[in-house]
Symmetry: C3
Subunit: 375 residues, 3 copies
């Protein structure tokens, strides 16, 4: 989200200004017009105001360059204005990708813009936190917590006892880490996500009630992991065991990761998918929305699982694409489904055939008899 | 939920009393019995106590009117008691709908009952809030936020920088609005819902890792929108773009709305449904629970999508009802599914037929030969 | 989750030490070696350090007993070391179940370890709370709330007005109870779960908009109920009515329970399942992940519903196992699905048969004619 409309910020979260020339240098472009104008924001060419920079890539939008209030516009280096234009131009090879570079720079800066400690916030005994951090109001840090440098802890975040968090990690508002959770470097976790809640473990008793199986493990999130909003990752069952999200994994919103699951490196899981207990997902999997995967399975690397599929047994061969419940090869699924849609017609044809065959049957027996009689 | 058992409240959140006669006037009914009794609460006739008002509509419940402790009962105007009765009566045309009117009045009042500011609560710099508001303890309002009149902000709500909220909107406990979110007038958002989290955008790199695509847009919620609990709505990807929930939309709990989605006017979406990125849902759609809709689709107005359906391509014609994955006409789905349930039988019949035909085939060839021989 | 690594805690949450002999007595085992060593933690034999106790059950792990740094190891009473060993031994009948006893004791202790009141926390007027409680920082308790003994309220918990909570119940961080919610004894509710939010009730109006139906009931959670993280349970619609979760029910994460639902005694519901409004689920049901159940249904006792199934009509007979959408007998589902996977082949066979029959048809008619001619 756009945390702030200002383009850049200094260490005190004050918006910083760059001149058009400074931005041109950043992009390896050339300035045409007044390079001393201050720029504080990015905008679309049709909406831009004074102090803002826009880009022109698609010729359809050329009309706007003659009316925009932008202070600068990034254009292709061979752009020739047909009329007089007000904004300064930054001439580059590819305006869209230059604008994207600016956007990414902007995003990185705003993500790490927040700094300092808002009050009231809570920090328990024996907890340490590195430099450059932000701790929002009403954030809670328990006892014996270790937090690295440049970590951003938004308001209402909860960090349980003995948790460990690496450098440059962002915990958005109301992220909840149960005690003993480990989060690596460069992770982003979005609002409302719960990490380390009890796995769903209950042993049936003779009287029909259930006994709770203690859940004593934790969750380990490695480096460069992104997790969406309101997702849940349960802790491992046994003391010393971990539910593990390997480096580079990207999880969307409202996902369920049960106890003792391991999600392999660089796997991407879309919204509302659920992985049952003790399943090991391979590396570089693509798991679509609302997929369900049963427990105690191993899923090979590079598996692609289509939306809403249900996986009920291990996938051993790498690189498969599957769909359906239980899931099988996606092309075969679609072929079967094409026939499924015509099943009433098939049924009619089968009945028709049965009638015919039953008629032929009697007739041909007659014929045969006749034939035999004819002998 | 029942925020308070008292029927009405004055500006200071103190319960207010009405007399039976005052309520009768409100409902356009007539009083039989003591109209001066004070009423402070609504109840069912079988549970009601002194100071409470009940209704009698279904004759099955008539027995309770002779034993109830209610101070008043709303009855049909031609109701003739068979025994002596204690409560005052309010005689109306339709007791159930009169009671409903009271319930609605009650609901409106309790919803807006909370007022004032509880401490500690946090409000950043340069933020404004209108009259008649409630700000619960531990609520957080960032910088440059604009909030209208009569807005109720429950405890643990988070409102990011530059957010804008209209009049008469209720944010229940722990609603989370990322920076720059817009919420209209007369909206209700339930507990734990996240609005404006990053869209799920990652570009694959050659080494198998993913690069995060900055998510710089926002979310716009128009007027008269209701959103359930623990739902997530992601922000748009590009700066200046919005994920849009149009006026009158009703969203249930645990729903996923991805980046750049637009949900059309008066569309209703039930629990645990998920809409993928950039899809445009038409107006007055009915989307049932656990439905999944793929990305970049356009869904026509007045579409009805059955529970757990998966939508993988655009729906262009208005007024369709669909089911299945991929979804198609709901009646056809049920016809196909009816045959699906008998597939083993169909398979057997097909096999049987194959046997017969293969027999007939040889026999009839014989017969034919015989016939031919007979020539 | 592992709230703390120390084995036992006294009333002030200080870790307590037990000697090896004390633990042996607890387990009814015998000590071999130094029984006076202090034990403060449980660990796996391969990871254990000084001051920790491990167990050896599977012979595969015997190697570790000769190298472990554990102060004590629980072993089978007939265990004969093949080399010299450092740790004290506790000799028991079944090391694994003895270790489990210890784990459970540990779990019980850590779950109730937290005590006292952290500040700032909020408690409204006229609310009472029993002895032995924990109220975390930023927890919110409204007015007229009644809370039993030994209740643990973690940081960021929200308890609305008039709520009632029994003894020995744990509300993990950020649990949200709307006003008037009832929670029984010995319940555990995990982080982010919402109880009592408005049911999804809207009446269509002539102009295409919807009128909100006031939701005035509450939620009742009976004793010994466990609820996972980020689950949502809506309140009942009518004043005086309740959505009810009966005793012993176990709910997983991200589940949707709609208004006026009743979940019967000892029923277990896995993650991301959704139950629609007014449905009554029987006792001892097993409902798997991502199941959807339509509204206004009655589901018999001892029903087992497979993952992702959709239930669209009542299940009247007890003890059924169902799958599919709409769900039917699970064995029949799998039989049908086995044929579904071969539908393209079936279709080909049917077409083949049609060709043959059409050929035979003409031939056999010829044959018949021939036969007739042969007469």
């Amino acid at each position: 989200m756009a945390e702030n409309h200002s383009l850049f910020f200094d260490a005190k979260s004050e918006p910083m200004e760059f001149t058009v020339t400074q931005i041109a240098n950043m992009l390896g472009g050339q300035v045409s017009g007044d390079g001393n104008q201050p720029i504080v924001m990015l905008a679309k060419i049709q909406d831009a105001k004074k102090g803002q920079i826009a880009f022109l890539s698609n010729p359809k939008y050329e009309q706007f360059i003659y009316t925009t209030h932008a202070s600068a516009v990034i254009v292709k280096k061979d752009f020739l204005p047909k009329k007089e234009i007000a904004p300064a131009l930054i001439l580059v090879d590819d305006p869209y990708s230059s604008f994207t570079v600016l956007l990414e720079e902007y995003h990185k800066l705003i993500s790490f813009q927040k700094a300092g400690v808002e009050q009231p916030s809570f920090i328990g005994s024996n907890s340490t936190i590195g430099t450059g951090h932000y701790r929002g109001a009403f954030s809670y840090i328990g006892n014996d917590v270790k937090i690295g440098n440049n970590v951003k802890i938004y308001p209402h975040v909860y960090i349980g006892d003995q948790a460990v968090i690496g450098d440059n990690t962002i915990l958005h508002t109301n992220v909840k880490l149960y005690a003993d959770t480990r989060v690596g470097n460069n992770c982003i976790i979005h609002a409302g996500t719960v990490i380390g809640s009890d796995g769903f473990g209950f042993a049936p008793l003779a009287d029909g009630t259930y006994k709770t199986i203690p859940q004593l493990g934790n969750v380990v999130i490695e480096d460069n992991v992104s997790i969406g909003a309101n997702t849940v990752i349960d802790c491992a069952t046994l003391f010393g065991d971990s539910t593990i999200i390997r480096q580079g994994v990207k999880l969307d919103n409202l996902i369920q990761i049960a106890h003792n699951v391991e999600v392999g490196k660089n796997t991407v899981i879309a919204s509302q998918a659920g992985i049952s207990g003790s399943t090991k997902i391979g590396e570089n999997n693509m798991i679509a929305g609302q997929v369900g995967i049963a427990g105690h399975l191993v899923i090979a690397n590079n598996t692609s699982i289509g939306a809403q599929a249900g996986i009920s047994k291990a996938i051993k061969e790498e690189g498969q694409k599957v769909l359906g419940y239980p899931a099988f090869d996606i092309k075969e699924y679609f072929r079967s489904y094409a026939v499924f849609k015509r099943l009433p017609e098939l049924n009619d044809r089968l009945r028709e055939l049965e009638k015919k065959v039953s008629m032929i049957d009697s007739v041909s027996i007659d014929a045969t008899s006749n034939g035999k009689h004819a002998d």
